[in-house]
Amino acid sequence: MDLNNYLLERKSALANSDRPAMIMTHVVCGYPSFEDNWKALEVMQSFGVDLVELQFPFSEPSADGPLFVKANQEAILNGVHVDDCFEFMQKVTAHFSFKVVMMGYYNTVFKTGQQQFLERLKAAGAVGFILPDLPVDEAGELHSIAKQLGLAPILLMTPTNSDARLDELAQSADGFIYTVARKGVTGSNTDMNHSVSDFIDRCRQFTTLPLAVGFGVSTAADVEFIGAHADIAVIGTAALKAWEHGGEASLTAFFKQLLPAQVDV
């Protein structure tokens, strides 16, 4: 798959830098606007992020925290449609060097039609997708279409999963694994501590895919901690907060403290 190869490449590229982990960032399509999205992505690109999640706004974002709930809601109110998201994704993948995965809720896929949705995703240049409300048990057909198209179905591993379940998840996942370092919705605060590393180590037993760690990453120390145990640090809420606080300037300052080491883009 595209994503697997890409991550292998990036990993070895970073091995020679001071950057402790690969970085995945997050943007909600059309919030505050597609123009703002574009400027944010330019900042992210300038800091050499490796992956970006483009979230397709959904009216019932039940796995998101308050900031992203609001972002989803406003985007819809602004008139953002699924077509607009695909169009934007197309432009992004054509212009930037980071890879893009779609993030969203299953109904957006289901309503478009599974086959059609993934084909459009492929056409728009995405390399995978994250659907937090689609359990692997319900994903059989979607995953087999993804496989045909070379798109990575990115799955979540969580601290509440049994070993058997982690194994099952590992079998179905591709690209990387999104390990959820704590209970709760996006943006919940997480102490990067012993129990987090234990959990990551546990996930590692079941898969050779790169591990991303999400939920609450906001400092250079967090990134360093993740680099020591996993592969990809996911930056979500903290970056959106920075953007809301002061646009490009704030976002740039945020990434400056988060990622002090420069890398080649």
């Binding site: 706004p57 959904f58 009216s59 019932e60 974002p61 039940s62 796995a63 998101d64 925290g65 709930v69 609001k70 809601q73 819809i76 449609h81 699924v82 809720y105 299953y106 109904n107 957006t108 289901f110 309503k111 478009t112 937090p132 409300d133 689609l134 359990p135 692997v136 048990d137 319900e138 799955l155 979540l156 591993m157 969580t158 601290p159 509440t160 999963n161 049994s162 379940r165 998840l169 959820v180 209970k183 709760g184 919705v185 919940s188």
Partner: protein, 406 residues
């Protein structure tokens, strides 16, 4: 976890083990005859079950058609059928050793029932309620708080039932260790539709015996309002094998057909299949799969989705769906109050309205059974507004003056 092609369990991975545990505990309870016995005894001693079936002779005579009977879920403790499900889940929570419950609520009846159950079982409780619903169902909020529940007004989205459900899911993914989510209707991820239906089947089990006793025959048609659909499936289950008994689900027609005007998923043509709120079923949604605004005078019916079990039965032509407008509901309520001294909740009044419409066309020896899922006391602010009651307005103004400015 499917009913035909509807249902399923669409939840974040972090809830996987929680929902698996629930499935197992539910299965064990369902297979344990002493559990149902314990449930029945609790409902008898605490909630006054069995609720009676009442013959509405005046209304029947006035309409000149079928004989109308009513299953009186309004006589339950807390004033609606919601208590059946809630007390049943309470017993499950006790078995699972959890100590905290959360619940969404629309009309407030389910929140009221959950707060009551939590007080009775000694659980901590938090009730999520859309801010719009908090405003229109304030009396229920007052009682929930006084029974020790924390009530959270949800200001996301449409600020109604669906948003309260989202907020419950958010709480649950954070606190699943000690917390059970007491889903209030036969919707959401499996096993909730089956579980809620099972607890609510107490209605139909009682009703079948009672109507045969009272009317001397099985009913020809059974009417129940459908929001999530728990009271309907509860009653219908008692008559599922009685092929000559028509089952009619009555949805919120609001202002009438047209997207955004109502909350009728099956009776009108505005809904399509989707996956949200943990289940696959018919939703009032746009082409992007984003949910539409809905409207109903009855907060408890003002919901985007519908019980997947009922959808399956609808596709099999076992259940017919009809929509009733706000205006028809108000008229039915007034008629029922004046002719029989019953005050059905605005939700339940949807069933009454459709039954009244059909009764006139039926023969005098035909029998109708309506589920009076709740009482209308809780709706006093809404009903007073719907009827434009001037005395009530004066009273509220005067009360406000008494309280003085904030």
């Amino acid at each position: 976890g499917y009913y035909g092609e509807y249902g399923g369990t669409f939840l974040p991975e972090i809830l996987h083990s929680t929902i698996e545990e629930l499935k197992i505990e539910f299965r064990k309870a369902k297979d344990d005859p002493t559990f149902w016995q314990e449930f029945i005894e609790l409902m008898q001693s605490y909630s006054g079950r069995p609720t009676p079936v009442t013959h509405l002779a005046n209304l029947s005579n006035q309409l000149g058609g079928a004989q109308i009977y009513v299953k009186r879920e309004d006589l339950n403790h807390t004033g609606s059928h919601k208590i059946n499900n809630v007390m049943g889940q309470g017993l499950l929570v006790k078995r699972m050793g959890k100590t905290r419950v959360i619940a969404e609520t629309g009309a407030g009846q389910h929140g009221y029932a959950t707060a009551t159950m939590a007080a009775r079982f000694g659980f901590k409780s938090k009730i999520y309620m859309g801010a719009v619903d908090v405003a229109r169902q304030r009396p229920n909020v007052f009682w929930m708080e006084n029974m020790g529940s924390e009530v959270v007004a949800v200001t996301d989205g449409q600020q109604t039932l669906k948003d309260a459900i989202n907020e419950c899911l958010r709480d649950w993914v954070t606190n699943m260790d000690d917390t059970h989510y007491v889903l209030g209707t036969a919707c959401g991820p499996h096993p909730f539709p089956e579980m809620v239906s099972w607890f609510q089947s107490i209605i139909g089990r009682e009703a079948r015996e009672q109507i045969i006793q009272a009317a001397g025959k099985l009913p020809d048609r059974i009417f129940a309002c459908v929001g999530g659909g728990s009271n309907a499936i509860g009653l219908f289950q008692g008559f599922m094998d009685d092929q000559d008994t028509q089952l009619i689900g009555c949805e919120a027609g609001g202002f009438g057909p047209g997207k955004g005007n109502h909350a009728a998923r099956l009776a009108y043509k505005d809904a399509t299949v989707g996956v949200a709120q943990g289940m696959k079923t018919y939703f009032l949604q746009n082409d992007d799969g984003n949910m539409l605004h809905t409207h109903s005078v009855a907060a408890g019916l003002d919901y985007i989705g519908v019980n997947p079990v009922l959808v399956h039965l609808w596709e099999q032509n076992r259940v017919r769906f009809e929509a009733v407008t706000d205006a028809q509901v108000t008229e039915a309520l007034k008629l029922t109050m004046r002719t029989e001294g019953l005050i059905p909740a605005l939700e339940s009044s949807h069933g009454f309205a459709q039954a009244i419409l059909e009764a006139e066309q039926m023969a005098k020896d035909e029998v109708i059974l309506i589920n009076m899922s709740g009482r209308g006391d809780k709706d006093i602010f809404t009903i007073a507004d719907a009827l434009g009651d001037e005395h009530w307005k004066s009273f509220i103004r005067q009360k406000s003056d008494e309280y003085g400015p904030e």
